[in-house]
Amino acid sequence: MPLLFLGIFFCLAFSWTGLILYPHMHMGNLKPVALEVDGMLYPLRPSGLAAQGEQVYIQMNCTTCHSQQVRPKGFGADFERGWGDRQSVPRDYIYNKQNMIGTNRTGPDLANIGDRVNAEWHHKHLYNPRSTSKGSIMPSFKFLYKLQKQGKAPSHEALKGFAPGDEPPEGYEVVPSHRAKILVEYLLSLKQNYELPEGKLSK
């Protein structure tokens, strides 16, 4: 019986050592690297707002529908779909609070979304995904936006271009809440468009 117990113990300890302890020693403490192009350390440390926005992304659990990883060329069509220009590598993720490489692509991969669309598009899309993407099944995040009375001049943050039925009543406007703004800040920070020693861009 002690043998049974030892065996049971050993099996789990074995995989833990192999899959977690050893890789952790090996790549559990990666550092950014200085690149020749501009001498800056890459990956760039996200701005304070972007780092806060990661929390909103977690709270809305966008990971259930979006991955953040580019697969190698030839393995799927990640490059051809414009989701990235090189395969993602561990160093890309050293500043994540929670690692959200994800396992589901009900929606497109977002590893490089910061390179693809701008803040205005994001707000429009988050407010109602059907306004930018006909037939989308992404949920709307209207509750991150505020309806407010228009001042003398419309706010520069006010959303424009609503889907039919979404327009605010006369004299009102829709503006992003703080959380919507930091979420978009986070989305804009998502880009793996720099070259690392272990990850070269395909040109």
Binding site: G7, S15, Q59, Q69, G76, D92
Partner: protein, 479 residues
Amino acid sequence: MNNPTMTLSQMTLSQIDRSLKGSGIFFVSWACIWLLVGTLFALITSIKLQYPPFLSGYEWFTFGRVRAAHLNVVAYGWVNNALFAVGLWVMARLCKSPVRHKGMLYVAGSFWNLGLLLGVGGIFMGHNSAVEWLEMPTYVSPLLAVAYVLIGAWGVLAFWHRESDHVYVSQWYLLAAFFWFPWLYTIVQMLIFFTPMQGVMQSITHWWFAHNVLGLWMTPICVAIVYYILPKVLGKPIHSYYLSVVGFWSLALFYNWAGMHHLIGGPIPVWMISAGIVGSIMMFVPVIVTAINHHITAMGSLRDIWNSPSLRFIVFGAMNYTLSSAFGSLMALRSFNKITHFTHFTVGHAHHGAYGFVTMVLFGGIYFMLPRLLNREWPSAGLIRMHFWCCSSGIILMVVALSIGGWFQGLKMNNPNIPFLDIVRFTLPYLHARTLAGLLLLCGHVAFVVNVVWMLRGSYVRSETGPTLLSPVPNSGGL
């Protein structure tokens, strides 16, 4: 008690049953509540995916959170409570010694379900994590960890004090699961949340854990339940003792490594992915061996299986264990994974394993256990039949729809000429089919829970003395 025909071991068994009656009812009741709640969340999730405006105005009910709540409620509310009930009962019966430390079970059960209530509430309030299978906020993990440790310790202690002279294969599986899981859970909480590792190391640890929830916790206990109930009801020994030894050790050795197949193509070292693939392919060994053992034992007794409520579910579950595991191993192949990864195929596969196998076996286990705990037969054979037909057809529909839909979704996603939104539109009919499947499952669950409630309240007690069977055998009546 003073029935002269009762053997000594039957006396201990009925003593054990009597000692575990209270905690068994406690766990089964919670399991039933969570089952209904979890099914409801599942339906909401499914409807939201095909019709996003549904309940979209409330932050509490945003898709990501309802989905997380669904997963946690069914996995940790329904499955775990049912596993605690049936798994510990099988362990106690096989150890044939008087039950000790009953209090531990109530403490563990209270901690567990309180933790879940707070945890699921926390998910809705946005205190969730984005780590699938571990979305509950970190402030409930100590509660859950204590509960796991107590349950695990109870199982190991029961084994320690066993009075049976030989150890049956079910006991290995149970012992291993009760020992593994508290350990696994504590490690992963520390490494992901309390002292988080860097970047992708979190994802590696995450999938090592999440795959092991199924592999080292749910699967071994359910395999143990099949190994216990199948020969018992059929009254014949298991096909091969030797094969069960091979099955156990190969599962213990290989399942641990398989989790990395969730990261194929991902930003982790290639050798780790290869290790995951090898582990997944090697899983064919325990699966085939266990399949031979279960199915050959079952063969030749199909009529009895069909008539017994517990065996009908258990054999359905065992068949799905074989099937879903075979698919799981295939899905780990790079060429297969390239298509199915990131699609609804994986979601279908998860339900195949966690529902088609685990949940169905647990239904069977409860159908077997409750009459023995309560000394009472199931009130309604009709409800059991309805339960079986709704759940079996529901899960088949769901797995088939999501597999076909997911397969073509994957093929299309790998073809850059097809716009993404066309793919989204393409999957819709399959998502509708899933909602339909969910409705069928809900009907089945309601039938099950009504039967359990009648059983517990002692209403509609059948006058016959024989057990409730599902065929028109002359002496069985009932509703």
